[in-house]
């Protein structure tokens, strides 16, 4: 099925975009914004708002009809292989099949200071009404926080006998997220640990597809809640048939 954005009627393609141009406000700037919108594939662009930002910059809001459409039959949104259970169900599944909690170490690696996503997944309070992994007896969590060098993350994972490593990457300038993430995989390979941990990354610019290409077992994008990551971790552990030690 081919679809377009919906504005007033189905298929009218109406969208709104906003941007700033390095031009002082005036007729020339408005025309420049309109031309840009046309090149962006918006028919009948209407400059609904323009405002001088000072020092020769102008902010624009533009309405228009998007020329492009998306064929949903063609789409293959890849995602990690798991059944999304509630955290209580995850806990029950772990209790039944693993017989011991999953030890998880998480960090924002490299220069990354943005722990909001990591905390949302790992910490008890969670995010948006979804409690984090720490809230479930199925997990023992170690949240190492921000700016953790890869080697410190690996050292900690070894120390606590981690079953899973979660890495959160927010900053993507110059593809630093890719460099940091691949270095961690290579470090785990060098240490002979790669096959022994479930390796997961997440962040606003992370897709499952990218994660897999980087050598991770799964990747989670924006809006992910803890029960999704928890479901994947437990089900992946079951798949690997890690023998259980103690009762939960």
């Amino acid at each position: 099925m081919k679809i377009k954005p919906y504005g007033d009627t189905t298929g009218d393609g109406k969208v709104q975009v906003s941007f700033t141009l390095p031009l002082a406000d005036g007729p020339q700037a408005v025309e420049a914004a309109r031309r840009l919108a046309l090149s962006m594939g918006l028919d009948n662009p209407l400059v609904a708002h323009h405002q001088d930002m000072g020092v020769g910059y102008t902010f624009f809001i533009i309405y228009g009809s998007c020329r492009h459409e998306v064929d949903t039959d063609d789409l293959q949104a890849s995602q990690a292989d798991f059944h999304h259970l509630t955290m209580d169900e995850v806990t029950a599944q772990a209790r039944e099949n693993l017989g011991r909690p999953v030890v998880v170490v998480g960090a924002c690696t490299g220069s990354d200071t943005h722990t909001v996503g990591l905390d949302a997944i790992m910490n008890r309070k969670g995010f948006h009404g979804h409690y984090g992994l720490e809230s479930s007896p199925a997990f023992v969590t170690h949240n190492l926080g921000s700016q953790v060098p890869n080697e410190v993350l690996v050292a900690r994972a070894v120390e606590v006998g981690a079953d899973a490593i979660l890495v959160s990457k927010v900053v993507t300038q110059k593809n630093i997220h890719v460099t940091d993430l691949t270095e961690l995989v290579d470090l785990l390979e060098a240490e002979g640990l790669r096959d022994r941990v479930v390796l997961v990354c997440g962040g606003p610019r992370i897709s499952h597809e990218l994660a897999v290409e980087l050598g991770y077992d799964a990747g989670f994008g924006p809006g992910t809640v803890a029960s999704e990551v928890g479901s994947f971790l437990v089900q992946e552990m079951i798949r690997r048939r890690v023998p259980g030690a103690a009762v939960l």
Partner: protein
């Protein structure tokens, strides 16, 4: 400012570059292969049977390099095995959404991919054997190309599974396996997985040709770390490596002292504290992490006095500044298994910044790559 799009060959579905440059690259990378394309008789078995193509960054031209090697191998009558450590031959880059070059598999080639990926390319592939693992893109398998065309390679993400895949392709008669490393990962180049690695570098690494050459020189310095000469030190190091993460060899007799550490990662403080005046060498069973290199380069006299020994160059994790200081102060790392870099390829196009002048970049890269030859496959530059 140059705002060039990807080069013309970047369009998916088109052929990889071919010609004298690709032939020269192949001769450098695979010595002992039949020299005459299509030579009659039984094709020779090349001296290198597993060759990795690794990149020093994303978008430096790994896939184009692999494509050129594959086309040459096919022209010379070798049975190709193709695999990737990630995903190769996809239409669009997973990060930038830019079109990627296609991988053309000749008839008779063996490929490692997944069931889901079989229908993605233009080639017809018959499944020969399912591999004992699934990837996040489906059940892994080895197949044979029954009608030439483009392929999507989906590979095992871990070195141990990659080895399994290579063994299965060997078993089905591959005379030369090419492994496309994903992004800037090095694991595909580990001795024990492959025998040599062609290194791809390019404008994605730096803003000027000199910058790119500097980064490339550093990476090659590590990749080409010297192998330990046969002898007592080598024997002792080899034994120690299997017994622990960190072992010190001490005194004239190189008596091993295991430090009881589970990993050298994050343990530079413990390692430095354990050193004695007669410690001759630090032997690492796993990684030589950045922290230890930093500490060894900072502590006066340490870099020069101690020998650091690792299994192979893929175990070394240098931060550029730490590595340069360590080297400046006379530090050296030796390996049990040296990694061969028979050739370097360079790509002047960058996805993130302006492209660089091809000939100048090639000259700069060739300077730091020597004695290995450097090639720009698209501009047709090489030592020939």
């Amino acid at each position: 400012m140059q705002t060039d799009g990807p080069p013309a060959f970047g369009a998916h579905g088109s052929l990889s570059p071919h010609g004298p440059t690709a032939a020269a690259l192949f001769d450098a990378a695979v010595p002992g292969a039949p020299a005459v394309p299509g030579a009659p008789g039984v094709p020779g078995i090349p001296a290198v049977r597993r060759l990795a193509v690794i990149g020093l960054a994303k978008n430096v031209g790994k896939t184009v390099t692999l494509g050129a090697l594959a086309a040459e191998a096919a022209a010379r009558g070798l049975t190709l095995g193709l695999c990737s450590t990630g995903r190769d031959g996809e239409r669009k880059d997973a990060v930038t959404e830019l079109p990627k070059p296609a991988i053309l598999a000749p008839q008779g080639a063996l490929v490692t991919t997944t069931e889901d990926a079989l229908k993605e390319g233009g080639a017809a592939i018959e499944t020969l054997e399912r591999l004992p693992f699934t990837t996040p893109f489906g059940q892994a398998l080895v197949g044979r190309v029954t009608r030439a065309g483009t392929v999507l390679l989906i590979g095992p993400g871990t070195a141990s599974r990659l080895r399994q895949a290579l063994e299965v392709m060997d078993g089905h008669g591959a005379s030369l396996c090419l492994v496309d490393g994903s992004l800037d990962r090095l694991a595909a180049a580990a001795p024990g997985v492959t025998e040599a690695a062609v290194v791809a570098t390019g404008a994605a690494l730096g803003a000027t040709p000199v910058d790119v050459a500097r980064q490339t020189a550093l990476a090659l310095d590590v990749l080409r770390l010297p192998g330990l000469e046969p002898g007592r030190l080598r024997d002792r190091a080899s034994e120690a490596m299997d017994q622990g993460a960190v072992t010190l060899l001490e005194g004239e007799d190189l008596v091993p002292r295991h430090l009881g550490l589970a990993t050298a990662a994050g343990a530079w403080g413990d390692i430095l504290a354990a050193l004695r005046p007669d410690t001759r060498a630090v032997v690492l069973g796993g990684a030589l992490p950045a922290g230890l290199l930093r500490a060894a380069g900072t502590e006066p006299g340490l870099a020069q006095r101690l020998r650091f020994i690792v299994r192979d160059a893929t175990r070394v994790f240098p931060e550029p500044l730490d590595w340069r200081r360590f080297r400046r102060r006379g530090g050296t790392v030796e390996v049990l298994q040296a990694l061969r870099v028979p050739a370097v390829t360079c790509n002047p196009w960058s996805p993130t910044g302006p492209s660089l002048p091809a000939e100048e970049l090639w000259r700069e890269v060739a300077r730091v790559a020597a004695p290995a030859p450097a090639f720009d496959l698209v501009a047709g530059l090489g030592p020939h």
